[in-house]
């Protein structure tokens, strides 16, 4: 190793880190190509991004490393996951290709790109400059000087861009409210208004849940032991899909009286 190549080599520790992380990163990146579920792909790329952050820190860019985690993993990928959950996460993609020839063309182009780019890198001759000083590396002040000095205009432009993008996203996903908002007050007042027509102030009772069945098509029993019809969903009742309460619980007396049959031993539940 010639002296002028001093800036071009790394410490042993860093080399170890690189050779551990790099294959894993490539594997994770390949996961993007081969996993069927989009969430898994997102996890793969999160791994790549966090590894990159570690590499940045190793490559004397600690600020950028931390920002990478905050921005990419913390915000961008979280947004991806968020959208994935909004648009249906269970859809796992089929990997069969539908466009004729696209798979081979894509693979060929990808490989070709890799080969050409690596070819360029290997052909290039690098002239290392003076390595970054420790103060430059460790202190975000150095970065801030460049950012708010030489690139202040770009910085402001990028700020405007961000605001514009946020506004754009708002406009794109905005749905016009067609009906006035139903506020809490409005709902409460409507309920009180509906009282004379047989409405209720409280929520309806939940369907019955018994040892034999816990389905929602079975009515609950009131305190007097009668089945409460309104506890079963109205749709099920209209469709005629409701079931009777278990006969073991309800017994119809001769005069139409209903009484609850005691199950099990006396007071067994209270023990």
């Amino acid at each position: 190793m010639t002296p002028d190549m001093a800036g071009m080599t790394t410490s042993g520790g860093e080399a170890f880190l690189f050779w551990v992380l790099a294959p894993l990163m490539v594997l994770a990146a390949l996961g993007l190509l081969f996993v069927r579920r989009a969430v898994h792909a997102a996890l793969c790329i999160v791994f790549v991004m966090v590894s990159l952050a570690i590499m940045y820190i190793a490559s004397s860019a600690p600020f950028l490393g931390v920002v990478q985690v905050v921005v990419y993993t913390g915000a961008v990928m979280m947004l991806f996951l968020f959208v994935l959950m909004l648009v249906g996460v269970d859809a796992s993609d089929s990997l069969t290709e539908t466009i004729r020839g696209q798979r081979w063309i894509g693979l060929l182009l990808g490989l070709g790109l890799a080969v050409v780019l690596i070819g360029v890198v290997s052909q290039a001759a690098f002239r290392p400059g003076t390595p970054l000083t420790e103060d430059q590396v460790a202190n975000p002040v150095g970065l801030a000087r460049v950012l708010f000095g030489d690139y202040v205009l770009a910085m402001e432009t990028v700020g405007v861009l961000l605001v514009t993008a946020a506004m754009g996203a708002l406009m794109l996903t905005h749905r016009r409210r067609l009906e006035p908002k139903r506020t809490q007050r409005y709902v409460a007042e409507q309920r009180v208004k509906a009282l004379p027509e047989g409405g209720t102030l409280t929520p309806l009772p939940a369907p019955g849940v018994y040892a034999q069945t816990n389905a929602m098509d079975v009515p609950a029993l009131g305190p007097d032991g009668r089945p409460l019809e309104h506890s079963v969903s109205r749709v099920l009742r209209i469709r005629g899909q409701e079931k009777a309460a278990p006969a073991s619980l309800v017994e119809t007396g001769p005069a139409g009286e209903v009484s609850t049959v005691r199950t099990g031993t006396d007071g067994g539940e209270d023990a």
Binding site: I99, Q102, G106, L109, G110, V116, L117, V120
Partner: protein, 651 residues
């Protein structure tokens, strides 16, 4: 004048802003928007009055002022500044346009009261005034051209204001097309001027540098003086063509009669104050060019003479009150052209007559409008008669207008028309006899048909029936403009002619020329004129004093010809329209047969090619991404190869 010229742009500005506000304001202005129009026009008139006052107060040598507003365009050798020129000539026109225009605005408030589109009407009126002011205030031919076209546009909009009626729309189109023919002349004139002098602004063309500014055009040593005879003649003839189009002179006179389709205030505006006077203005403004081209001058005189006789004959045969007045306008403008063609001796008289004519003709038209207003828009004079009893104010104002147009002393028309007839009798050889004689005869015919008009309308016995028509005096807003104009018809001529005050006033613009003696002595001519006029008037009165048949009698050949406007439309159709249609038909065949089919073949071929190429557009984003990636790949590969194999490899 230079200290106040800064206000001049507002002359144009007020009506222009008024038009913009009215057009853009939308329906919110429907209720009261017309007052904006009136206000804009009045403001312009008041400003004009103040400027006039300042100009009168100024030293005659300083009455010409130019203001350069900004550079309009700068292309190669052509540098056009947008500028205004205030001088006595333009000032005269400003006053005529804004004052009469404002009166017509007031009149229209009532006249158009029941029209649902009154706001739009006032917007067009304002636009008309603004365009006309640009025309007269321009300091170069190009800026003048802007106003020229603006006037054409505004007249098109106004004539066709009731464009839901087919004849109106056709009339508007006719006026527009015939004006375009005239515009060709102006464009050719401008092109010739620019080609030979390299300038289009009046300052360079007519004034002899700074020293010559305000010295008057008679001594002009501007760029025009370098024109050779032939070019000057060509320019003069082109300008004449332009003037013929705008001022409805023979042979481009056909649109004027049809233009009566517009609302009557528009007719008044077109015939009295704006539009048709533009041609005369153009010729007078271009005086130095005409002075250098005697042939052109002769042609102008001939055209003027022909038109004045032509119009007068047509006027005798028309039963439509507005068309009769329109023919009269044609004839009177013919007088002005005649005067303008006579050279420096006639310019001032042309403008003078134009001014007095503006007043009495506006008054006559407004009177006619008032009559129509009272008679349910009836225009046929055979259905009128004895209207003086029911609309006395209208009758009186028209009576004074009648006296003025006849040239009875001491009314306005006398002072101006008589001067023109006198001027027509100056010169040498056969010309004074022919032109002077024609002018004299024209005056007689004018007296005849105007008396006929008055007799059929206001005198004699009523030929209308009461329940069907209910003639009544018009509201105050319509009558008072008539009265004011009648006052102008009575007094304006005398006041301005007193001590040649008007001709002296115009000298800075049109130059001063020693009076030439006519071939006959002045008193003789004056007496002859008055005699001819009185005879004409008497004949007219006696012929139509008694009952007029409701149906027009068949009449002589000349009458029938005159009723059909002396076959002007037939001639136009035969000479221009039919051959044009023939040429067009041939061209259409050629176009569909050869050109269209050729391009069709090409298009089919291209469509086939497109259909084939279209397959590349799969609509799949990924396919497009693939082609993009391929491009990147190729570029990268080329870079690698060049770096590896190139001469600088390994550097």
């Amino acid at each position: 004048m230079n200290d106040v010229i800064g206000y001049a742009p507002w002359l144009v500005g007020f009506p222009l802003v008024g038009a913009a506000v009215l057009l853009l304001g939308g329906r919110a202005l429907d209720k009261w928007g017309h007052w904006i129009g009136v206000l804009a026009s009045s403001a312009s008139a008041l400003l004009g009055g103040w400027l006039l006052f300042r100009m009168i107060g100024a030293d005659p040598a300083e009455r010409v002022a130019d203001q350069r507003l900004w550079t309009w365009m700068s292309a190669g050798g052509l540098d056009v500044d947008l500028g205004l020129r205030l001088d006595p000539l333009s000032m005269t026109f400003v006053m005529l346009v804004t004052f009469v225009g404002t009166l017509i605005h007031f009149y229209s408030v009532e006249y158009m009261a029941h029209d649902p589109h009154r706001r739009r009407f006032f917007a067009y009126l304002n636009l008309f005034i603004a365009a006309m002011l640009v025309l007269v205030l321009a300091d170069s031919y190009l800026v003048l051209f802007v106003g020229w076209e603006g006037v054409g546009l505004a007249s098109y909009l106004l004539i066709g204001f009731w464009d839901h009626k087919r004849p109106n729309a056709v009339a508007a189109k006719k006026a527009f097309v015939m004006n375009r023919v005239g515009d060709m002349g102006l464009i050719v004139a401008m092109a010739l001027l620019f080609a030979h002098t390299g300038a289009l602004d009046f300052g360079t063309l007519f004034d002899a540098g700074d020293a010559g500014a305000g010295e008057g055009l008679a001594e002009a040593t501007g760029a025009v003086s370098t024109l050779d005879q032939g070019t000057a003649t060509a320019v003069g003839l082109a300008l004449l063509l332009a003037a013929c189009g705008k001022s409805a002179q023979f042979p481009l006179q056909a649109w004027l009669g049809d233009a009566m389709a517009g609302p009557t205030p528009v007719s008044a505006l077109i015939h009295a104050a704006t539009m048709v006077t533009a041609g005369v203005y153009l010729l007078v403004r271009s005086g130095p060019i005409l002075d250098a081209a005697p042939t052109a001058q002769l042609v102008i005189v001939i055209v003027g003479t022909v038109t004045l006789i032509f119009g007068a004959i047509i006027g005798c045969a028309k039963d439509d009150i507005k068309k009769a007045l329109a023919a009269s306008t044609m004839s009177q403008i013919g007088y002005m052209m005649l005067a303008a063609g006579l050279g420096p001796v006639g310019y001032a008289f042309a403008i003078f007559h134009l001014l007095t004519h503006g007043f009495f003709k506006a008054g006559l038209f407004l009177g006619a409008g008032s009559v129509m207003h009272g008679m349910k828009d009836e225009v046929n004079m055979r259905g009128f008669g004895a209207l003086r009893r029911v609309m006395p104010l209208t009758a009186w104002s028209m009576f004074f207008g009648w006296l003025a147009i006849l040239g009875i002393p001491p009314f306005s028309g006398f002072w101006s028309k008589d001067k023109i007839i006198e001027a027509a009798f100056t010169g040498e050889g056969w010309q004074p006899w022919v032109f002077g004689g024609a002018a004299l005869i024209g005056a007689g015919i004018t007296a005849f048909y105007m008396t006929r008009l008055m007799t059929m309308t206001f005198w004699g016995r009523p030929r209308w029936t009461e329940p069907e028509y209910h003639p009544h005096e018009s509201p105050a807003l319509m009558v008072w403009p008539q009265v004011i104009l009648a006052v102008g018809s009575i007094a304006l001529g005398g006041v301005l002619a007193f001590g040649d005050v008007f001709t002296t006033w115009l000298e800075p613009s049109v130059g001063h020329v020693e009076h030439h003696e006519p071939v006959l002595s002045v008193p003789v001519l004056m007496g002859a004129t008055i005699a001819v006029v009185v005879v004409g008037a008497l004949v007219g009165y006696l012929m139509y004093r008694r009952d007029v048949p409701a149906e027009a009698p068949r009449g002589s050949v000349l009458t029938r010809a005159a009723r059909r406007d002396l076959f002007q439309d037939t001639v136009n159709e035969g000479l221009v329209m039919k051959p044009g249609q023939g040429v067009t038909a041939v061209l259409v065949t050629a176009d569909t047969g050869v050109v269209a089919r050729g391009w069709g073949v090409l298009a089919v071929g291209l469509a086939g090619l497109g259909a084939w190429l279209r397959r590349a557009q799969t609509g799949y984003v990924r396919a497009y991404a693939a082609s993009m990636a391929a491009g990147v790949l190729i570029i990268g590969a080329v870079i690698v190869l060049v770096a590896t194999l190139g001469p600088t490899a390994g550097a």
